[in-house]
């Protein structure tokens, strides 16, 4: 569900219905669009990719009733169009150095993050690895166990062991690593906050 949404819940239902009449497929597509939008906003170095993704959904939700009657084509293209407009607005805001209050649109200028110590990184990495199931932990360690040319053979062997193609393995590993990265980021934020209060 879009966060901080001003739109009533029935609008969100309508949004899902517009994305796909099958509610299950619509929910899956909604998540796909969300992931893609976050990535696109990140490519443009937007300060708050998740917030801007929420804003995109918010804007589309507000128009969805009308869109269901008038828009022809893939709804994903419409989301992309709205996201492009948001990116242009963001870039204008950043270029003109005008401070704005609308946090969701552009966010504050990026805050300088102090470099965490390698001990903090190690601590968070170990704790987040422990949070994974043994299977997932072993998989990620096996996948990244080799570097440069040696990693290719290693990864083919891992894929064979799992009985999946190397492409499937790579996508699976991307998702797993993203989850691990997010856990480490959260852990580092917490440690940094704890250090500040000490």
């Amino acid at each position: 569900m879009p966060q901080n949404s001003d739109a009533p819940p029935e609008s969100f239902d309508e949004l899902l219905a517009w994305i796909n009449p099958d509610r299950e497929l619509a929910a899956a597509t909604y998540l796909d669009i969300r992931r893609a939008l976050v990535k696109i906003f990140r490519w443009y170095h937007c300060a708050d990719p998740e917030g801007m993704t929420d804003e995109t959904f918010e804007r589309v939700t507000k128009q969805v009733h009308h869109l269901r009657e008038t828009f022809e084509g893939d709804p994903k293209h419409f989301f992309y169009g709205v996201a492009r407009n948001l990116i242009k607005e963001y870039q204008k805001t950043v270029k003109s150095y005008v401070s704005i209050d609308d946090v969701q649109l552009a966010g504050d200028p990026p805050q300088e993050v102090d470099e965490e110590s390698s001990e903090m990184r190690e601590e968070c990495l170990s704790s987040c690895l422990q949070n994974l199931t043994t299977e997932k932990r072993d998989l990620i360690l096996a996948y990244y166990a080799r570097e440069k040319s040696a990693k290719i053979e290693q990864r083919i062997a891992v894929a064979e062991q799992l009985g999946v193609s190397i492409e499937t393995l790579r996508v699976r590993m991307y998702r797993l690593r993203m989850a691990l990265e997010q856990c480490i980021e959260r852990c580092l934020d917490e440690l940094e906050r704890a250090n500040e209060t000490d």
Binding site: E115, R121, L125, E147
Partner: protein, 286 residues
């Protein structure tokens, strides 16, 4: 009809920010609307990040990559996290491999000794004792050679550190030969990157041109002769502004340079991101 998949090379250029606005929009549109293209792009992006962290990108691609993925402090932190995951996995693999090989050797050896006829044990024991003594002598010899080698290396590294100490930078060194080196691989060595070894030259002064945008509080150089495994590390170097642009001066005692091709890897250290590196090469002729 389904649109063709964008080629890997095009996606890599897209990810490095090396495509025009129209192409960028076209790929992004496919990225959001075609699940297969989405997966292909995230996988190639992952590959690119790994190539960067393994130092496998060309200098120009490294620069483009850093502009795209090291632009904000958050992005730089993300890169450090991925590097930590990779380093941790490599270290884990190495330690479990060491543990496995230590475990597996002794049981195999002992089971080989389980002979049915005890008469075999005497000659086997004799051979083992002789092998043990010979091994001991051999090990001691190796140890002595290693100690000599370590002392020689330590002396060279001390000499390098003295020559490149901040107090000595900028001082005129007598009997020195100067060479300005732009970044480049061993394949790009030409006559301008060569010098002839002469007995009157005591020190070779290199000016390693630093062409990267990013500058660092300090630099570390690793010198190696192509074909040799020995590497000499020279830490605590600093960039200076020269007539030819930013350069890191590096002094080498001439007696450590013999005929052949040399490669220097210069890396930035002490910043909040993985330091960028440049390669330099030169040739010593008789």
């Amino acid at each position: 009809m389904k649109e063709e998949f964008p080629a890997d090379a095009l996606i890599r250029r897209f990810l490095l920010g090396d495509v025009d606005e129209e192409e960028r929009e076209r790929i992004e549109r496919r990225f959001i609307s075609d699940h297969e293209v989405y997966e292909k792009i995230i996988v190639l992006e992952d590959e690119l990040i790994e190539d960067y962290l393994e130092n496998s990108l060309t200098a120009s691609d490294r620069e483009k990559f850093y502009a795209q993925y090291g632009h904000t402090p958050e992005e730089r932190r993300r890169l450090r996290i991925v590097k930590a995951i990779k380093d941790h996995a490599v270290a884990e693999a190495m330690s479990s491999q060491r543990a496995r090989s230590a475990k597996s050797k002794w049981p195999n050896f002992l089971s080989a000794l389980r002979l049915r006829n005890p008469g075999f044990l005497i000659p086997v024991a004799t051979v083992l004792i002789i092998a043990f003594v010979a091994g001991l002598v051999w090990l001691m010899d190796i140890r002595n050679k290693r100690a000599e080698e370590t002392n020689r290396r330590a002396a060279i590294e001390r000499e390098l550190a003295d020559l490149n100490a901040p107090s000595g930078v900028g001082k005129v060194t007598p009997q020195a030969f100067s060479l300005v080196l732009p970044p480049g691989s061993v394949r790009s060595v030409g006559p301008e990157n060569e010098f002839r070894a002469r007995t009157d030259i005591r020190v070779v002064e290199l000016q390693l041109l630093w062409t990267q945008k990013e500058q660092y509080p300090g630099y570390q150089a690793v010198l190696r002769r192509v074909g040799d495994s020995e590497r000499l590390t020279i830490p605590n170097l600093h960039v200076q502004e020269t007539a030819g642009g930013a350069a890191v001066p590096l002094k080498l005692p001439a007696h450590i340079l013999t005929r052949g091709l040399y490669q220097i890897t210069l890396s930035g250290v002490g910043s909040d991101a993985p330091g960028q590196a440049e390669e330099y090469s030169f040739r010593v002729r008789d």
